[in-house]
């Protein structure tokens, strides 16, 4: 199968504005988009830049805008994309080069929610125990690979880059609902400020974008609820 890829390219050192490059590659329908990108980079045009690492949907490096929706290039198959494929960098962040965006602000937001265990009580001799039900409570949000697909698909985030964004909230949720964590109050306080969860307008783009199938909007809703019942 022959596929034509239109790729939005931009090199801030050379180009004044982004431009579209077109490549045609021979590929199997069961190949992933990443295979096609590699074929271009290895055999046609070595200057094409994109991130990738694990190639198996685990590391979260290769989220990009594919035919208008965010996805991991290593997870979508060519047969599901048709013969003409449009690939762009994710929206809302500065383009570092071609399909790579500057994710520093993304990780700054992630750090804001203190994505690590906080405990004040005396460390027990053995591990801190948790029942299967308590573990289940936040299971969904443990799956995040920090790819950025949700945050960069969110219109609220496009409109206001100060918004902490779905990915950071997902990772806060993972600790807020963990029975072993004792930093709940601190984290909720951070999410309660005006660029925290209240910027979410329940648009659901994040749910559609998440390659891990995390119900992002639900997680945000649960944080809102937690905030509400804490205050009332």
């Amino acid at each position: 199968m022959k596929v034509t890829l239109k790729i939005k390219r931009f090199n801030p050192e050379k180009d004044e504005k982004p431009w579209w490059a077109e490549y045609t590659v021979e590929a199997e329908p069961t190949d992933r988009l990443l295979d096609a990108l590699n074929a271009i980079k290895w055999y046609q045009d070595g200057t094409l830049s994109f991130r990738r690492s694990c190639m198996h949907g685990v590391c979260g490096s290769d989220a990009m805008l594919i035919n208008g929706s965010n996805a991991l290039a290593c997870k979508v198959l060519l047969k599901n994309l048709g013969e003409n494929i449009k690939v762009e960098p994710m929206r809302g962040f500065r383009v570092a080069r071609d399909l790579m965006v500057d994710l520093e602000p993304f990780f700054d937001k992630y750090k804001q929610v203190k994505p690590y265990f906080i405990t004040h009580s005396v460390t027990p001799e053995k591990e801190r125990q948790q029942s299967p039900a308590e573990r289940e409570r936040f299971d969904d949000t443990t799956k995040c690979i920090l790819c950025g697909a949700c945050t960069t698909s969110c219109p609220s985030f496009w409109a206001n880059p100060e918004y902490i964004g779905p990915a950071a909230i997902v990772n806060a949720h993972r600790f807020v609902f963990d029975s072993r964590d004792e930093g709940r109050e601190e984290r909720l306080e951070i999410l309660n400020h005006r660029d925290g969860v209240w910027r979410c307008r329940t648009i659901f783009n994040c749910v559609e974008a998440c390659p891990r199938g995390i119900n992002v909007t639900r997680a945000i809703g649960e944080v809102k609820k937690a905030l509400m019942f804490r205050k009332l």
């Binding site: 409109a159 400020h193 005006r194 209240w198």
Partner: protein, 113 residues
């Protein structure tokens, strides 16, 4: 603060649903607009119940709408100066409508029976 705004939107939304449906039913289904005139309204306003009903509806609907517009402005008006200007106009306009509406509902006296 945003929390209370958020909560207010949900609660007022639900309450308004019933108030507005009731209003629609009375004004457009049971009676129709051609038969509603000054006398009808004046008569209705004799009872404190309908005054309260309309007052509550006015406040909830106006504040609900104002908060929605505020959200839109905060999301989409990026330039600081314009944002402050739009928000200020919105609040002033909102205040005038709220004051005017409340004044009419609270002080209305039928004339000429």
């Amino acid at each position: 603060m945003e929390l209370y705004a958020w909560l207010f939107m949900r609660v007022s939304g639900i309450v308004l649903l019933f108030l507005a449906l009731g209003h629609l039913l009375i004004m457009h289904v049971i009676h129709n607009v051609e038969t509603i005139d000054y006398h009808f309204v004046a008569h209705r306003f004799m009872t404190p119940f309908w005054r309260t009903y309309d007052l509550v509806m006015l406040w909830l609907a106006l504040l609900h709408g104002l908060n929605g517009a505020r959200t839109l402005i905060e999301d989409y008006v990026g330039v600081r100066g314009w944002r402050v200007f739009s928000l200020a106009s919105l609040y002033i306009l909102g205040f005038i409508f709220l004051a005017l509406g409340s004044l009419v509902i609270l002080t209305f006296q039928p004339v000429g029976g």
